[in-house]
Amino acid sequence: MKKMIGLEIKKIRHTFLQPLILLSLIGPLLMITVINAIDSDKTFLEVVVSNSVFVQMIPFAVTVIFGCFIVAREYKENMMVYLKIMPHSQVKIMFSKIIVIVLELWLTQIITFIMLFLINTVIEGYDIDILLKYIGAGLISATTFSCLVPLIVFISLLRRNFSGSALILLIIFMMTFPFIFSENGYIFPHLLPMILVAKSFGSSVYNKISFLGGTLILIGIATIFYCLSIRIAKKKE
């Protein structure tokens, strides 16, 4: 499995994904810094808290693109047939892709929150409580978004097309995005990660959903789409 994960990482060399991941790290930081500079009434943490959805959304959008690309390209580059005649199960190959996507997600989410903390420290000085808040938010964000990775893989396997699958996922995400500001936003499972992070920062809007409830819903979603992805991966013509 380690070898397969290494191979998946090797396959993304010289693609547009590498600069895109870099942009996904820089984008939110730049945005928060600019807002903080304009909105001098709020503390840096308050700016992060009020814009936490954007901080998470950009890296997640990049993860969707990343995930759709590494799955769908096997069909586009006519490699799927050759993967199927390798002496490895399709489930193993698919699982290695899921792990790589999760690794990328964790990398971008955790680094984003750590960088935000570092900027916070530079602007307002070191505070252990704030550090814990950022780390907590980063971990919750990474863990909860990871539950949506099987959905990304499932849609990509179904559509077998990079643009098509990324479009569907991101447009559903963005079109339902305004619900995140409503107390009933939790009915959309793909908005739960951002809602739970906002809750961890102390938002009182989302009283209707608990951390446990949200986590259970996400684990359920992850399980369902993982099973569906296995079905598609194993399916022969």
């Binding site: 191979l7 396959k11 006519n78 490699m79 047939v81 005649i85 002496p87």
Partner: protein, 302 residues
């Protein structure tokens, strides 16, 4: 000799429409098996069923003496190299990197094998170039290199000379002959019957999903028609003599040319002597043997 590939009643139907019907294929160890058929005959579908990529509607496949199941297929795949339809690659990676991925996926530890196969197909100088910059012919060669990387016991090649220049076609032909000489079994599917004819030891003819015939090269050559053509100064006299001395009634006369077909080799020396002894001038004589293409067209009713 052991059957490396054996299919029994292999059938595939899509929405009730059969694309492969009841195919009983036998490929023996060490053979070069030419799998020929028209476009849409079902060759690629059959190869896909052999590789367990497509589930047969009925029938089964045996590889290396065992009925293939999802479980034992992984062991079999380590012994198989294949090109199916057009070879696919990771375009953003170089040839060497693509082969390295293949080497790792096939659990082949020998890194030197990459240079070996690249040299075999003539891509050593372009090894570090990205595949996106390769021409069609270069990608085809790389596909062959990838199939050979882990020294497979069985090679399944679907149109291996597609896109290759004439020199490339000759090189691949010689390569396949040398691989077969080392004991590798090869199943090659192709439209270029003149090329298939030069390398195969057995032929399977597929038409509209049905395996019409399976015959060895010797049987094929025996079955192939042979036409003897004589250009003489006195056609009627020559025709009478041929009928009288060789008991051949089915003659074709066109102008000053007389031709007749026969399954067995006609004793040309004997006929020449008869004609000369009867004062007939032989302007030209030749034997035309029908090719695989002619035989194929005849048997498929084209």
């Amino acid at each position: 000799m052991q059957d490396i590939i054996r299919t029994a009643g292999l059938t595939k139907a899509y929405k009730g429409v059969p694309v492969v019907s009841d195919v009983d294929l036998n490929v023996k160890k060490g053979e070069i098996y030419g799998f020929i058929g028209r476009n849409g005959a079902g060759k690629t579908t059959t190869i896909r069923m052999i590789l367990n990529l497509t589930k047969p509607t009925s029938g089964h496949v045996e590889l290396f003496g065992e009925t293939t199941t999802d479980k034992n297929m992984y062991n079999n795949l380590r012994k198989i190299g294949a090109i199916i339809e057009s070879p696919g690659f990771y375009m953003n990676l170089s040839a060497r990197e693509n082969l390295d991925i293949q080497r790792l996926m096939m659990d082949a530890s020998d890194k030197a094998s990459i240079d070996r196969v690249l040299a075999t197909v003539g891509l050593s100088e372009e090894a570090n170039k990205r595949v996106s910059k390769y021409s069609l012919g270069m990608r085809q060669r790389l596909g062959i290199a990838r199939a050979l990387l882990h020294k497979p016991e069985l090679l399944l090649l679907d149109e291996p000379t597609n896109g290759l220049d004439p020199q490339g076609v000759v090189e691949i032909r010689e390569l396949l002959l040398s691989i077969a000489a080392e004991g590798t079994t090869i199943l090659v599917s192709s439209h270029i019957l003149s090329e298939v004819e030069k390398i195969v030891t057995r032929i399977g003819i597929l038409n509209k999903g049905k395996l019409l015939e399976e015959l060895s090269k010797d049987n094929f050559q025996t079955k192939c028609k042979q036409t003897t053509v004589y250009k003489v100064n006195s056609v009627e006299k020559a025709a009478t003599l041929i009928k009288q001395y060789l008991s051949i009634d089915d003659l074709s006369i066109l102008g000053d040319t007389i031709s007749f077909s026969s399954i067995e080799q006609v004793g040309n020396a004997k006929l020449n002597k008869i004609l000369i002894d009867n004062d007939i001038e032989i302007i030209e004589s030749k034997i035309i043997r029908s090719s695989l293409e002619d035989y194929f067209l005849e048997i498929t009713g084209a």
